[in-house]
């Protein structure tokens, strides 16, 4: 297991390098950059004093270097004008719009993004598991069709609209305040139980909205797998030998069907993270979603670059966890590639 874990983590390194190159290329894609734009603007309005300051920033962040050098400087594998100072050294760069270090801006948002996505994953498993098992053990029943229909509807409704509508009705029925992560009176207050409860209340809508599509997919997957397993001869044998229905379900078929259920989180995570970005924008949650949008619009490259990279790393990390879980559950996977002894 240890060897499997180490191998799996080592495999992430080339992936990470490729991801960072890809992301750097994408954020560099728009013509021009924020500082040149600003210098042009200032020149047009005749603010010569400020230009010198911006030009100093331009110089300091090596924006005049060629693309490849800038990438290396960004990552921290090549000395720029500030020496070795990049992602590898823990320097996330400078946000030119907020005029603060990137790490200060994204710090809180990152924690919240992780919490939100984790909560959604938990939500998906908690909801999808019982419904999937129910649908598989009672296929073609009213309940089965009902859940399938709900699932399809969840898949087809655009996330952001569902968010908007749910938000409205939660406010109307339960008095949850609109937008944000907590009721306005708790902003800036120390953590108390009621503040925590307020945060939990505000998490409900985003978690449901982000989780619907994933839950629907999970239910369908688990239902299909479990149905396949239940029709196998060994289940009939178990029943014929007088094993109880529940035991004949839980002991073997469920365990077999659980594998893809866990492996699927790897496929699910990218769409979850995508969903959390857009839903945060609509619901005005202080995650990194809204920051990403503004930084992309203003070409604040270090800010948007870091957020994109972080989002990618979050999904890669999720896949790592699902692979490790699978390896732990299923010896066939972790033994794969090792010589049979």
């Amino acid at each position: 297991m240890l060897r499997f874990t180490i191998e799996r983590i080592m495999m992430m390194i080339p992936t990470l390098i490729a991801v960072s190159v890809l992301i750097f290329l994408i954020i560099e894609l728009p013509e021009g950059d924020i500082l040149s734009n600003r210098i042009d603007e200032m020149r047009a309005s005749g603010e010569d004093a400020a230009i010198a300051r911006v030009e100093a920033l331009y110089e300091q962040y090596d924006l005049d270097e060629p693309l490849f050098t800038r990438y290396l400087i960004w990552v921290g594998a090549y000395p720029g004008n500030r020496g070795f100072s990049g992602l590898l050294q823990g320097d996330l760069g400078w946000s030119f719009t907020y005029e603060r270090p990137v790490s200060e801006i994204v710090g809180e948002g990152i924690v919240l993004t992780v919490v939100l996505n984790l909560a959604t994953v938990v939500f998906i498993y908690i909801v999808a598991f019982p419904i999937g098992v129910y649908s598989a053990t009672r296929p073609y029943s009213v309940g089965d069709y009902g859940f399938t229909f709900l699932g399809y509807l969840g898949l087809a409704t655009p996330n952001f609209l569902l968010g908007l509508i749910l938000l409205y009705y939660f406010n109307r029925w339960f008095g949850v305040s609109i937008g944000g992560l907590m009721a306005p009176e708790y902003l800036g207050e120390p953590w108390t139980l009621s503040k925590f409860l307020s945060v939990m209340q505000h998490m409900v809508v985003p978690v449901i909205v982000i989780g619907t599509a994933g839950t629907a997919a999970m239910i369908r997957r688990l239902r299909a797998n479990l149905l396949d397993e239940l029709q196998k001869p060994y289940v009939t044998t178990a029943r014929a030998k007088g094993m109880g229905e529940t035991a004949a379900l839980i002991k073997y078929p469920l365990r077999m069907a659980l594998n893809p259920f866990i492996a699927d989180i790897g496929n699910l995570l990218p769409s979850l993270v995508s969903g959390s970005v857009i839903v945060s924008l609509v619901l005005n949650l202080p995650t990194i979603g809204p920051v990403l949008l503004t930084s992309l619009q203003t070409q604040d490259i270090y800010l948007s670059g870091f957020i994109l990279l972080f989002v990618a790393v979050l999904t890669l990390f999720g896949m790592l966890v699902s692979d490790l879980l699978l390896g732990w559950l299923d010896p066939r996977i972790r033994m794969d590639g090792e010589a049979p002894s």
Partner: protein, 378 residues
């Protein structure tokens, strides 16, 4: 002498073999696929809906009673108008009741009350003039309001533009975004997957890693980043193509992977070996024997990824990163409904979500049906 009985029906040597089958055993694959597809009732209904929606695209200007830009300054945020048939106890055919506008002085909201005045609808009529596909001028509509009446089937927006007309115009853009995008993704997937499957070895390895890489990245943030790179000074039509290319660029890995695995699996099949032994050229093997086998699967999985693209366009336009007015797509329309005031006071602004949901559902069921039908021999 009793006459010898002869069955007058023509004799078919295959009759016994084909008994109990809907089609003869040597029926073409296409016929078998059609038979199997027909059994999936939801897929058939969905196909019908999609055909109707796509068939409306060439005639957008004729279906919409108003132009996409026409503003009715007197009818801002007017609710949907009902179609009545009876007027003062008498049947006078389909008509709308004229709106009378009052302003609530406490909330400053416009309130529209139907008056007793009936405005009969006209059919196959000359109404507002338009440029057909932006080219030929015309003024023929399938339905027009009365000369001095209005027809707001789905209400009006903040500038008094008819929502129904705008949704009909949005259909043209939103539905074609998916088609253009999937074409790009299809071509890329075929070429890259084919190359990987054909050459194998290290080429295959690199392509495989690259596919895994792209599939592991969250789509929306990447779409956002790429569409933020579209220059602002581009014309709306260029932006439209830019967006479709972006949607297609991130979608091909799934298709490429399917092509590759089919290629690898089919290469080892007996029928390919026998074709080779009978002296068929590689080209004949690929196009006559391999392609028909994986094409149906490929088309089915491509169909299943069209809804993702339509939703992607909707999301991007909703965020203001995708299409912008004057191009009208469902996402652009929903962008204007992006506030709680819309949900609270003007819920008809959210109506563009109905065609979105309907289309996505239809494509999903249709794709499911195609996928089942793609393998008619099981």
């Amino acid at each position: 002498m009793t006459e010898h009985y002869v069955n007058p029906a023509p004799f078919s040597p295959d009759a016994e073999r084909d008994a109990g089958r809907a089609l003869p055993a040597d029926a073409s694959s296409l016929a078998l696929m059609w038979l199997k597809f027909k059994r999936h009732k939801l897929a058939v209904i969905s196909a019908f809906i999609l055909v109707v929606l796509y068939a409306s695209i060439p005639f957008t200007e004729l279906i919409a009673p108003y132009d996409v830009r026409t503003r009715h300054a007197d009818f801002i945020h007017a609710p949907p108008q009902a179609i009545h048939f009876m007027h003062e106890g008498r049947f006078i055919g389909p008509h709308t009741k004229a709106y009378e506008q009052t302003v609530d002085l406490h909330t400053f909201r416009r309130i529209y009350v139907p008056t007793g005045e009936a405005d009969p609808l006209r059919f196959f009529c000359m109404g507002e003039s338009y440029r057909f596909w932006g080219l030929a001028p015309g003024s023929f509509h399938f339905v027009c309001p009365d000369e001095d009446g209005t027809l707001f089937l789905m209400g009006t927006d903040r500038l008094g533009r008819d929502m129904f007309s705008r949704i009909v115009h949005g259909t043209r853009i939103s539905l074609t975004v998916g088609l253009v995008g999937i074409t790009i993704s299809f071509v890329l997937g075929l070429i890259i997957g084919g190359v990987a499957g054909y050459f194998g070895g290290w080429v295959d390895n690199i392509v495989q890693r690259f596919i895994e890489l792209i599939r592991s990245l969250p789509e929306l943030p990447l779409w956002m980043a790429l569409s933020a790179a579209i220059p602002i000074r581009w014309s709306p039509i260029l932006v439209y193509f830019g967006i479709t290319i972006i949607l297609g660029l991130l979608d091909w890995p799934g298709l490429a992977r399917a092509v590759r695995s089919k290629f690898l699996a089919l290469r080892e099949e007996d029928f390919v070996t026998s074709a080779r032994l009978m002296g068929a050229s590689p080209r004949r093997i690929i196009f006559r024997h391999l392609a028909p086998n994986f094409m149906s699967h490929l088309i089915a999985s491509a169909t299943l990824s069209i809804p993702t693209m339509i939703l992607g366009e909707t999301a991007l336009s909703f965020l203001g990163l995708g299409l912008r007015s004057p191009i009208t797509s469902w996402g652009v329309l929903l962008n204007e409904a992006q506030n709680l005031a819309a949900v609270e006071f003007y819920p008809w602004l959210l109506l563009p979500m109905l065609p979105v949901i309907l289309t996505i559902l239809a494509f999903n069921f249709f794709g499911d049906g195609l996928r089942d039908a793609a393998d008619p021999y099981t």
